[in-house]
């Protein structure tokens, strides 16, 4: 409770939620094609291109503001001064286009298309053909679109979500795992452990710590998940809400499983030492394992069908980060998820036995760091 109430924790949670929402909004801005605005000046006959340019460019997310310019010289000076981005002058079928340094590519393509159309219309008129009839006919010509991979966009979204899930689990497991280790050391360093053990059985104490801190983590993750989901769907970073919901539920499930597994290891590690200063030495290797499986996800994501990655994602030390990520991408098959959960529960049972034994044997030993083998044998 003291930890939950601490200002640090509250601020941290709010900050994390704000960061997450901000990150998603940023993603939304980067991914959506931003509308650019261009000032285009037209001289004389070239003004015939103004309206068509504005209409066509708008469909390409370029907002064209047209300006009528009296002559080329004043137009050039306006371009020079930056008041105009582009100056179009001369014959509409072959106009001169003046810019300061470069021409917006969308605008360039649109302009040259328009100019070709003007040239074509002029040629048709010269050949005695009615351009409107021909153009109407041309307008009916269309492509027949065959989509081979309609889910490509969704797939990309899933991958983004998956990496996010893996990162979130990695951070949560390391953070809350270290809270557990620090909590165990705190009780050992203050010797309150002696009072506690005289009234609470060691197993209750160990599990109380794991469950208490786990609940706190679960709550925080739940809040983050909710904020993330709302932000992501509102900004259309994720179009299909079910992707997000599955990802969040998967992440929560694997946080519970992974946290119990790793928290037991962290607790056993914490019980070996008596001072907060030694915490890094025992939590380091455990943290490395979690970081390692997070990093492994990038390889797994690139090779989604590789048997090694599939295997790793089902093994207890790696599953808590790999499996929820693979579930988010939709790569994980149902049987793989089931096998991973069964193995994970087995891993928790094994760790419960192993870590509890180390914890019981070392939690009352104060002084220098307890050697792992001694803790195992139970030599007091």
């Amino acid at each position: 409770m003291t930890r939950v109430r601490s200002r640090f924790f509250l601020i941290g949670t709010v900050l994390l939620m704000a960061l997450l929402a901000g990150y998603i909004v940023l993603q939304a801005l980067v991914f959506s094609r931003a509308t650019t605005s261009v000032d285009v000046g037209f001289v004389g006959a070239a003004n015939a291109l103004a309206q068509p340019l504005k209409t066509v460019a708008a469909t390409e997310s370029v907002n064209v503001k047209t300006h009528l310019v009296p002559d080329v010289a004043s137009g050039n000076s306006q371009v020079e001064a930056g008041r105009l981005d582009v100056l179009v002058s001369g014959d509409p079928a072959g106009p001169a286009v003046t810019v300061k340094d470069d021409l917006n590519p969308t605008l360039a393509a649109t302009l040259s298309g328009l100019v070709k159309q003007v040239a074509l219309d002029e040629a048709m008129v010269a050949g005695g053909v009615d351009p409107s009839a021909i153009n109407a006919k041309v307008a009916t010509a269309t492509i027949h679109l065959v989509v081979l991979d309609p889910n490509a966009a969704v797939k990309l979204q899933r991958q983004v979500v998956a990496i996010f899930v893996a990162a979130l689990l990695y951070v949560a497991l390391v953070l809350y795992g270290q809270f557990v280790a620090a909590g165990v050391v705190e009780e050992k360093a203050n010797r309150i452990i002696e009072i506690l053990l005289s009234t609470v059985r060691p197993r209750q104490l160990l599990f109380g710590k794991v469950v208490g801190i786990g609940l706190m983590g679960f709550l925080q993750l739940l809040l983050l998940g909710a904020v993330g989901l709302i932000a992501a769907t509102q900004t259309h970073v994720i179009d299909v809400p079910s992707i997000g919901v599955t990802a969040v539920l998967g992440a929560l499930l694997w946080f519970v499983l992974g946290f119990i597994f790793y928290a037991l290891i962290f607790a056993a590690g914490g019980s070996l030492i008596s001072r907060q200063e030694d915490l890094g030495a025992v939590t380091g290797p455990i943290t490395m394992l979690i970081v390692g499986s997070y990093l492994a996800y990038f390889w797994v994501a690139a090779n989604p069908t590789d048997p090694l990655g599939v295997l790793l994602s089902m093994l207890p030390p790696f599953a808590p980060t790999l499996m929820p990520a693979r579930m988010a991408t939709g790569d994980a098959q149902v049987w793989q998820v089931v096998v991973a959960i069964v193995l994970m529960i087995g891993g928790i049972a094994a760790m419960n036995w192993l870590a509890a034994r180390i914890y019981f044997n070392s939690v009352l030993r104060v002084g220098s760091r307890v050697k792992l083998m001694e803790a195992w044998r139970g030599r007091q």
Partner: protein, 296 residues
């Protein structure tokens, strides 16, 4: 009970009894096995042999939960508020929420800490931390109190108020066991004392019993007596000469009245007094005896 740590035997065939309403002092050098014994009684450690009996039958978890314990190295959450901490520890020992709140208030009042209830333990002075630590052992109305060095580092006033509380508890029938290095304090506070050395209980009894255990000694001041006047008396041995005063050690066969008559025969006698050993003397005596035994 017996407890081994690998090769080292921390407690060897130790047997002692503490009675209801008794303040029992547990005395011994560092590493003698006091803390180990206490931890075994609490169930924090398991004994390799022997058992702990409560009212004649093996002590169970439910009884152990009602033991008030004060570990030697103080054990409280430094950043938890005092009131909250005491309530939590009280409930951990099986009281209801209302009982815990009432007991917390009662003990904080008793120790004059009522206005510090919302403070973190770390912000208190050493003496006040000690008081909170004792309160933590009392907030669930314990059936037995086990206190490891409760008086270490306390000023005389704090010692008095703490021992007053212990005697009150004892008067209500709660056995109180505490360990200490401060023998003068133990002598003053305890009803009975156990001396432990190398895991052995080498002496146990009331303060008077322990004092009486040693050889009978007499201080005699007979200024007119020739030196060596007492040496010839049967069963008497001169322990020390201090000016005209002599400290005589009498063995079982010696008659102190014969000594008095012999002294009076030499002239006036200004002092004739039974030498009462302090607990420290008893302790030293007991220590040297075991050393002799160990050597032979």
């Amino acid at each position: 009970m017996t407890k081994r740590y690998g090769e080292l035997v921390a407690v060897r065939n130790l047997e002692l009894e503490v009675r209801p309403g008794e303040v029992f002092g547990f005395v011994g050098s560092n590493g003698a096995g006091k803390t180990t014994t206490m931890r075994i009684v609490l169930g924090v450690l398991g004994a390799d042999a022997g058992e702990v009996l409560w009212e004649g039958s093996p002590i169970g978890f439910e009884t152990r939960r009602r033991i008030g314990y004060m570990p030697e190295e103080r054990g409280l959450y430094p950043k938890m508020r005092i009131g909250e901490q005491l309530r939590y520890l009280s409930q951990l020992h099986g009281t209801s929420s209302a009982e815990a709140t009432a007991a917390t208030r009662q003990w904080l009042d008793r120790f004059g800490l009522a206005d510090r209830s919302g403070d973190e333990v770390i912000k208190l002075s050493h003496g006040n931390q000690q008081r909170v630590q004792l309160a933590a052992a009392l907030v669930f109305d314990p059936v037995l109190l086990i206190l490891d060095e409760p008086f270490a580092g306390l000023d005389p006033e704090a010692v008095d108020s703490m021992s007053e509380v212990l005697h009150e508890r004892a008067a209500e029938g709660v056995p109180v066991v505490f360990s200490s290095h401060q023998l003068d304090l133990v002598e003053r506070i305890c009803d009975r004392v156990g001396i432990i050395q190398h895991g052995h209980l080498i002496a146990c009894g009331t303060i008077d019993e322990l004092r009486g255990r040693g050889p009978r000694r007499l201080w005699v001041d007979a200024p007119a007596a020739p030196s060596g006047w007492a040496a010839a008396l049967p069963g008497v041995h001169v322990d020390r000469v201090d000016g005209t005063r002599v400290l005589l050690q009498l063995d079982a066969s010696a008659d102190d009245q014969a000594v008095l008559r012999a002294a009076l025969a030499t002239g006036p006698v200004h002092e004739f007094r039974r030498d009462q050993p302090s607990l420290l003397d008893v302790f030293r005596e007991a220590m040297s005896e075991t050393r002799v035994v160990a050597a032979s």
